[in-house]
Each structure stands twice: as C-alpha cells, then as structure tokens.
Symmetry: C2
Subunit: 638 residues, 2 copies
C-alpha cells in the first residue's frame, strides 16, 4: 500500500513528519507523530474542535459539519474526518489548554467523621503485632506455618490467604524483625474467626490509610483517609485525562471500542488517579505503601473504562453493562500506585446509566433511611434521578447531555477562570452585566451562567416562552449572526479573545432540550410510581453542577420544580461522600449493596410518556404555566 508523508506544523515548534499508508485518518497520523489534537466528541465529527488547516496537498473530507464554506475554502478540515490519500502539510492551531484550576478545588469539603466510628469493628483493614516462635533444630516448621500459627494463637484467626508476591517477601522480613512483626490484613467478615487476606508484613506498625475515589466523566476526586481516626487528611481533584478522547460517556465508549483503545482509556484515567494519589500523599506526608484500601465510585461507563472491560453494550440497545457488582480486586490488578496488595473495592451500580456514583450518592444523602419522600438528582455530564424513601426506591437516567457543562453551546465553557457565572439583564435597555470567575475578561459562559442568562433573557422578554428571540427589541444585542439569531452577552472589546460572546438560538434550543430532559425525567418517574411531584418533601441535588446554581433562576427556566426553596438542598459531590462512608465502615458498605439491589431501574427511553413530558417541557418554564406559580407571579409583575 502506498505511503504518504504527513507534515504537522505547530505553533512555535519544529514541524513533525510521519509516514502513513493511504486511508489513514489525520487524527491517527497525528497520534503516531506524537502530535496532540483534542477530540472532545470522540472522533465522530460532531464537535468541530479538531479543526486543522491544510497548507499543501489535500485530504478526502468525510464530513465538514461545523465548518463554514469559508473555513473549507481556507483549507480547514476536521482531522477526525480527513483521510490521507497523498503527501500533505497540516497546520495545527494552538490547542486550548485545559486549565488546572477546578471548581472542586475552590473549597475543600469539611467532612465529619461518622459519630462513634470504631475502626476495630467497622473497618475491614486491620493491623496486629505478632511474635512468632523462632525456628530451631527441634522445630523446623516452615515460615508460613509459623506465621499462621501466630495468627491463630494471638489474633484468633484460623485461616489466612496470601498472594505469591507477598509470600516471597515474608521470610526475609520475619528474620529482619527477629520474629516480631506487624501484619496488615483484610477481614471481610466482622467475626474475626473467619478467613482473612494478608496484605502486608512490616517490621514496624504502619499507619493505615485508605482512598475514597470518585471518577466523574469530567472530574476525578480523591480523598485520603486515616482509617484509624476516620479523618479525611487530604483532598484533591483533577480533570479526568480521558477528556481528550471524548467529553461524554458515549464518545468515550466509541473511542474505547476501537481496536486496542480500551487500554489507552484505562491508562488515561489511571494516570489521573495516580497523579491524585501522589498529590494527597504529598499534602498529608503519607507513604503510598501505607494505603491499604481504595474504594471507588463512578458511573457505569467510568467503572468499565477503569477496569478496561468492554463498554460497548452500555451504548447499544438494550443498554446493559458487563457487570454491576465488581468483585474485589487488588492494586496490582488495576495498576494503582499504592500498596500492591491493597484492596480495590469498586462500588456496585444499578444499570448502564445509574452507576455506583448514584448508589453512593443515595447512601450519603440518607434518603434510603428516611421517612420523607425524597427526590435525589445528580446532574453531571448526564442526569440521574432517584425517588423514594426507606420503603422503596426507583431510579432513572435522562440523557440531558453536557449543555449545562458548556458543551454544545457556541460560547460554552467549564466553570474555570474567565467563565461568566452569573448574568443580569436590564429589562428596559436589554443591556447585560455579568460576573466572571477570577474577575478577568470573559472567555465564555459556564453552566450556572447559562442558567442565569437563559432565565434573564426569558424574564426580560428577550426570549418568548417558546425560546424564540424577540427581533422587535430596540437593542443591537439581538442580531442575526453566522448561526442565525443571537444575543450578544459581551462585545469583542470586553472579552479575553477579542470575539463577541453570544447566546445563539441553537444554544437556547440545546439548553431547553437539556432542561426538558431533566424535568421530564423526574416528573415521569414520579408519575410512573403514582406519586404527585408536589408530594415530594425534599429535593436533593448532588454533583458539582448543583453547587453554584441559583435556585430561583433554575426554577424560572423550569429546570427545577416550583416548590419552596427551603426544600432544595445542594449536597455537592455526594458520590465521593458516599464512597468515603463505604470505605470506612463495613456496615455502610453492606447498606450500599442493599441500596443497589433495592433500586428499581426504569428505562425512560422505552416510554412514550417521557417523550410527551419532554415535549411539554421544551418551553419556558413549561407549556403548563400553572405548574410554576411563582414564575407566573414574577412574569405578571414585570
């Protein structure tokens, strides 16, 4: 097969060349050449973020979606859709750098150790000092029998299992310690008479640390926990490195399903986790080898990708996972840089789109032990909803999409420096004012900013209830732009990049679809179990998305139901909190398994009612304004 020379010209660097056969995609050629081209949509040609410019030669373009005719004329092409068929030179525009400043790093959560936490009974990781009999010519028992005898006689433990790598290390340690050692073990059963698993043998008594890890599609959070005191001694969060191979779970499943890419996806998230482990260890001056357990939550796709278990079936009807209750693993099985024998406990999920992050969230919310009828909602890149109380729990997922995270919106961005996070519009002049994270010039609009903006545009009449821009306003801010009608939030001279920041009618449609999916999700779920939405006593919102939004404005756009504001509670990252509880206490861990078993999953996509509810919710705040009396009152005032 013919080979072609591909030359990549990078901003301020030497050109990089690579030879590839006919039919190679430009993204593949770039990967081989070690040139980074981000593909937020996973190489499907949807997002337009991988655009590059052809400066000599040409490529076959499978799709030019998201490129204008002018772009194409100027040589722009989507790298993920461009097939190399001859020698070609490509200019790669400077890639947007992901800022390392995360919303989750803004405030370190103040976590209370559960009252009455007793590591001796609650914790599965235990340590014990043992004094072994010394071998002699009269007692030539083998080392391992000597150790198990000490376990039996001094700790009341009859059966001990051990891995080969640990077995290799024991003899020299016993002798170095002059037959006095400290053993760390895992007892899965509360009664110590049963079988245990040996994790380490030490000369001195080690600290016992554990990790609570939440793998979000966007952000990975990691808490380092002292298993004796129960205290969280360090926290860190970081973007999931998989983002560069797709922003949502679907893109990542598609990417991972390509030959051999499952391993790459696993490596990417492991790199993030291992970076976080180093970070929390540095902060707390802890040794990774003293971390004997890691409890992990994440949505089902994140857990499958972490374990490099094929996730394709999650994406395709009838949407089933490979496994919901993952067996216990070790750090060596997974490749975590902690004690190699440490237990890895991946928490159980319920279904393809209701994962361990939700079961952990429910655990931390306490709703499964409450008499109050509670609605728990976790809105991240996807939206999951749980309704119930101590007697019953139902759950569903709605593919809200990542619009509220800034994706699929022209000037959308994540909640980092330069993001507009709140907007106010003057109802007479239609001139906006806004607040920017970091008090710098704005670069775009984040989720809370989008909710705020949408609400203000609606309340001030820039938008009608159908989400249409009002072209009769006396304002230069409503205009016809490249993508059709749009509202200008910031003029080019005010912004960081020198371009106008706008909200287009396409953006409005995307946001309406996202909020309608969420509203339809919880209202249909309530309907399906015959509970009026009004009877919900508590409305709990988890996920970092829910941390900064303005309830009033979220109700005004019909994202949240119109109920007294004090019934809403924002819980932050409920997934990592629940994971922390399961890490600490075997009883909580058992409760979590029960929660996963108790939750009845309802598949909304198989339900016509959902489509009707979704369609009705595509309005501001809703087709039926009677469902939003407080909004009705506001509108009548303005």
């Amino acid at each position: 097969m013919a080979e072609h020379l591909v030359t990549f010209n990078l901003d301020g660097a030497q050109p990089v060349t690579v030879h590839v056969p006919t039919g190679t995609l430009l993204t593949e050629a770039a990967q081989r050449a070690g040139v980074e081209i981000t593909q937020p949509c996973g190489g499907q040609g949807r997002c337009g973020r991988c655009a590059v410019q052809i400066t000599s030669g040409d490529v076959r373009r499978r799709s030019t979606l998201r490129l204008t005719a002018d772009d194409v004329a100027a040589g722009y092409t989507l790298a993920c859709q461009s097939v190399v068929e001859g020698d070609v030179s490509v200019t790669v525009p400077p890639q947007e750098k992901i800022e390392r400043r995360l919303t989750t790093d803004r405030v370190v959560a103040d976590v209370q150790v559960p009252a009455g936490y007793d590591p001796k009974t609650a914790q599965t990781i235990q340590r014990v000092a043992l004094t072994l009999t010394q071998p002699s010519m009269d007692d030539q028992t083998d080392d391992w029998s000597r150790l198990t005898t000490a376990f039996r006689q001094q700790a009341g433990i009859d059966q001990v299992s051990v891995s080969l790598p640990l077995l290799r290390r024991i003899g020299p340690i016993l002798r170095d310690g002059d037959w006095n050692i400290s053993a760390v073990y895992e007892s899965a059963i509360s009664n110590q008479q049963s079988a245990i698993r040996l994790i380490d043998v030490r000369l001195d008594e080690p600290s016992l640390f554990g990790l609570a890890i939440d793998i979000g599609t966007t952000t990975v959070s990691c808490w380092l926990v002292d298993l004796i005191s129960g205290q969280v001694v360090a926290q860190a969060a970081e973007y999931n490195d998989q983002i560069k191979r797709g922003e949502d779970v679907i893109s990542r499943i598609i990417y991972a399903s390509k030959n051999g890419s499952g391993f790459e996806m696993q490596s990417l998230v492991l790199e993030t986790i291992n970076f976080l482990i180093k970070n929390v260890c540095d902060k707390a001056k802890a040794e990774p080898k003293d971390i004997f357990k890691a409890t992990i939550a994440g949505n089902s796709t994140m857990v499958h990708l972490l374990l490099n278990i094929p996730a394709a079936s999650i994406r395709l009807a009838p949407f089933v996972t490979a496994i919901n209750h993952v067996p216990l693993l070790t750090a060596t099985d997974l490749g975590l840089n902690i004690n190699p024998e440490a237990t890895i406990d991946c928490l159980p999920g319920v279904a393809s789109y209701v994962g361990a992050d939700i079961t952990a969230g429910v655990l931390s919310s306490g709703m499964e032990d409450s008499e109050q009828l509670t609605l728990f909602m976790d809105v991240g890149t996807n939206g999951e909803i749980v309704l119930g109380n101590r007697d019953w729990l139902v759950t569903c997922a709605c593919s809200a999409g990542p619009a509220f995270e800034g994706a699929g919106v022209v000037n959308g961005m994540r909640a980092t420096r330069g993001a507009i996070e709140e907007v106010w519009i003057n109802s007479e002049t239609y001139e906006p004012s806004y607040r920017v994270i970091g008090n710098t010039k704005p670069r775009g609009i984040c989720g809370s900013g989008l909710i705020s903006l949408l609400s203000e545009m609606f309340i001030t009449g820039v938008l009608d209830k159908g989400g249409n821009l009002n072209t009769h306003l006396e304002s230069p801010r409503v205009r016809s732009g490249e993508h059709g009608l749009e509202y200008v939030v910031a003029w080019a001279n005010e912004t960081w990049h020198g371009h106008d920041i706008v909200m287009t009618h396409v953006d409005v449609d995307n946001l309406l679809r996202a909020k309608a999916a969420i509203y339809a999700g919880y209202s249909v779920l309530a309907d399906r179990v015959g509970v009026p939405l009004e009877s919900v006593e508590r409305f709990l919102i988890g996920g970092s998305f829910g941390k900064y939004i303005n309830v009033e404005k979220a109700v005004q756009i019909g994202l949240l139901p119109d109920m007294p504001w004090d019934q809403f509670a924002f819980l932050g990252n409920t997934s990592v909190k629940g994971t922390y509880l399961a890490l600490l206490d075997r009883a909580q861990r058992d409760r979590l398994s029960e929660i996963a078993s108790r939750m009845t999953y309802i598949e909304l996509s198989a339900d016509n009612t959902f489509y009707d509810a979704f369609t009705s919710a595509l309005f501001l705040p809703h087709t039926d304004l009677a469902k939003f009396p407080s909004v009705e009152a506001t509108l009548s005032k303005s």
Copy 2:
C-alpha cells in the same frame, strides 16, 4: 571507579568485548557480554568446570582449586574466582554441550488410568454448557449476573468467582455465542453447591487437559493428561535448565540468593517447563489453552525456585523452608504457557529436604495404605527415605551428594550417550570390559557404571574393604596418576576424547561417602523408631537413579541392605506418578495432604548416631561384614 576492557575469545567466533568496573568477576563479565560459561557448582570454585585461559593481562585469582600448577602457569583460571583488575583477554574453551538424550526419554512409562476413574466426581476441573437469557429493554440485567443466574439455575452452583482478565473477555463471547456458551470452572469442593472459580468461557465445548509435572534437580518430567478419560496422552522429559547455574540444590540456592538471581533461576526452570508443554502439546495435537490445571511436585528447593520464593533458609541451620503447603495459584501468577486462568497446584512437602516429590512418591507407592513395613527411598541428586506403613510414617534426608549422578568424580557423567553403564573386571588379569550407552566409544562413567565398577574392583581385590587401591597387583591399570592412585577403565585410544578414563582414589572416597550416607540414613531411621532393618518387608526405590542399577552390585558395595532381591522394587519416577494421581482425583490430592501432615521428619544432622553409622558404612560393604552375609559368601568363593 576504573573501568576495564575484557575480551572473550571464543572457538570459531568473533571476539566479544565488555567494559566492567574493577572488582567484577570474570563470570559476571561473561554474563554481561552474553558469553555462556557453565557453573555447575554455582560459582563456588568447587567444580573446576568454568576454567578459562588468560591470554593477555591478568586477573586476581581467589582460588585455584582443581587447577594444577601447570594449568595456572599456562594461564588457566577459574572464571568464578577471577577478579578483573585491569584489561584482560580471555580464551573460553568450547563448553560441553548437554546432550538432549535423556534416560527418561528411553522408555515412555505405560500408565494405567486408576480403576473406576469418574471425572464427574473425582476431577476438580469441570465444564458445563449454559444457555443464558437474552437481554432486552424489559430485562437489562448485566452480563455477569446473567451468567451467574445460568450457573445457579442450570448447574446448581450458587457462587462463582472470576478474575478481571477473564471478566473482560466474557461480554463479547456471550454475544458471539448468541448467549449459548460452554464454561470451564474449578470446583474445589466435591459438593457442587459451594463456590467455584470460573476458568474460561468458550463458544464450543473444549477438551479438558491437565499436566503432571515433576521438577527434579536434574530432570523435569511432564505428562499431558486427558482429564475426561484420565489417560496420559503424551510424556516428555528434559534437563532442568537451572543446571547451568549449579548441579545440586545447594549451589542453586547460593546462586539464587545473589541479588536478582532468584528471578533468573525461576526463568530457567520455566523455560524448561514451557518447552516441555509445547512438546507434549505437539505430540498429542493439543492446544495449550485447553490445559486448565497443572499439578507440580519437586523437592522443596525446586518448588521455592520455581515460585521465586527466597530459599536461603533451606541451606542454613536450622534448615527451614518458607512454605510447605503452597496456596493454589494460576498459570498467569507463574508464567506457564497454558490457559492463563489454569489452576497451579504445587503439592505439599514436609521439610527442607523432604519435599513434594517424596510425598507424591509415597502416594504413588501405596505404602501409606499398606500393612507391610515398607522402606521407600528416592535417590536423585539427594537421598530421601521414608519408613512406615498405614499406621505411621517417618522420614529423613541424607545429603548423599550427586556422586552417583557422575558429579565430583573425575570421569563421571550423566547416563547419556557415551557413558559406561556397566563394568566387569577379570579377577585374574584385572582387565575390564564394559558396556557403553549408545554403543559408541566411551566418554565417561554414569551412576550405574560407577556402582558396577566399584563393586567389581572390590570383589576382584583391586580395592580393599577400606577402599584403598591394591598397588601390588600385576597390572598396568593400577597406577599413580596426577590425582594419586587410580585404576584405568579405558585407555586413551579406546575413548571418544583420546584421554584415559580412570577411577581415582578420590573418586572412590566420594562414592563411599555417598553410599555410606544413604546406608546410614535408612539404618539410623529404622533404629530411631526401634524397628530392626531386617524386619522391613518391602524396599521400594524411586527416582530415575534407581531404574537401571544392578541390585547385586549395589548390595556388594553396601548401598542397599543385604535382603532377598525380590523384596526390592524399582518404581521409576514415583514423583510424577503421584503427581498424576493428585491431578486426576481430588480424593488422592487430599490423601497427599494427609501424608504430608502425617510424616514425622527426623533431622539426622542433629544426631551423633548418624555420624557413627556413617563412619561404619564407609567400608566395602560395611565395617560389620555380618550385616552382608551374601557378600561374605561371594568373597569367600572368590
């Protein structure tokens, strides 16, 4: 530190050079340069086999044992004892090639499948065809739950464990098989209601094969077994590749204890085993992935080195192993090229010098279930003895050394082509005749040849009862050679290499010490339990050593006790036979664990009686001729 240039000149090849720091041993330099220098004694400077010639520059010689003054003057030095302190050129003589023709390959043992073998009840490896329910929008259960449900409903199995790598493969197989698959699993408990371990999931019903492997210090034997019929479908044996790093267990422990060399020792024996696996699979047209279990025996050192568990404590008082009862492992843990999830069962040993090869040997001998008082002896590179019956079993080891395997004897060699295997001496002319394996010119003398020669020399008066050569004989064959007095078995012009083949007085001393150790071993063992040696009803000899020796001559030198010849039985490789039984049948495997627990180990080195018995046995056949009436009768006739 200063670096020096070492040049290795090899026979008929380009010189090889390497830079090493001051203080490097020549053997280490050779290893770095990729030059093979055999070290049968493990680099202790005992065997003299690593002699090389210095042609320019010089080295510091730590020891010149086994080199004559002329050798040293000619530049010869022991590579394992030579320290590089300047640039040096070294000529490496052509290394003796280990011939691949093994005694164990001469005859393929005809093995009977145990009567009434029923794989359904006896075998721990099972397969079952399962039909899973198909997922639908109404049944979104995960793949793994679907599989475990099928196990519960169709095989009555409630709990299934699985490894992460296998978990990764299941989803695609279930779909390729349209939810009809064949599962292979291990049930450790005979009652199928308990937990099992999943080993493989297949589209079609696989054959079920297992391996019985005996790791001898010298020879590794491997049987491929059809676990359904129970038949041995192929056999192979090969020298243990570790030989090049030491001929006996002590040398190998010393070598393995050097930094990082444990891994090398493990790799060497794994290479041998994987070579044998390929060999038996080729012979039987079997697929390695269809081998689901391997049961392994070996002396305690071989098992430790196989697992790369530090073996140093085996060599040093008080002589304890790291572990006798090794937990079940998988082929992946170990690196065997069979199904990666296959069970690896290392059989249990009793003590440092009574390993799983002996417990397996006892199982196959049936002595532990017999009323007859039985003495079982396994003479390989070491000598192990078991005495007892169905009521009691005692055991000991005697460091006979490898003299009967040809090591430590000037013209000793293994039982391969060119070895003198039997000798007859004319009692008037003292002229010998001999038989050579392969009917070629002789190259040396193997174990059976040494026993035969020693016996003939004694019976004809070439040796007196103290093992001294008779210098008053009218024969040119008894002469004073480089190493002192010696008897010439073959003149240079008759031999393969053009040098005389002799038995020196030092060789005689070595052989007497070896046979005295064995005799003292079993006689002291009998004495310690208060059983007269004469009351032993059966004398069973295992090990390939015991397969070809002449009982009469072995009695004449006092290696075997003077009892009716029909009480002796040569059982061949009892270790691999016992391993085969334990592979096939869980009940036999349980019996083997019981044998290991029942056997009382007696440490002879802690016993003065042993030293006395050893000293008394250093004569031909013994100080007390009354113990050997048949020999006394023969001597009085001649």
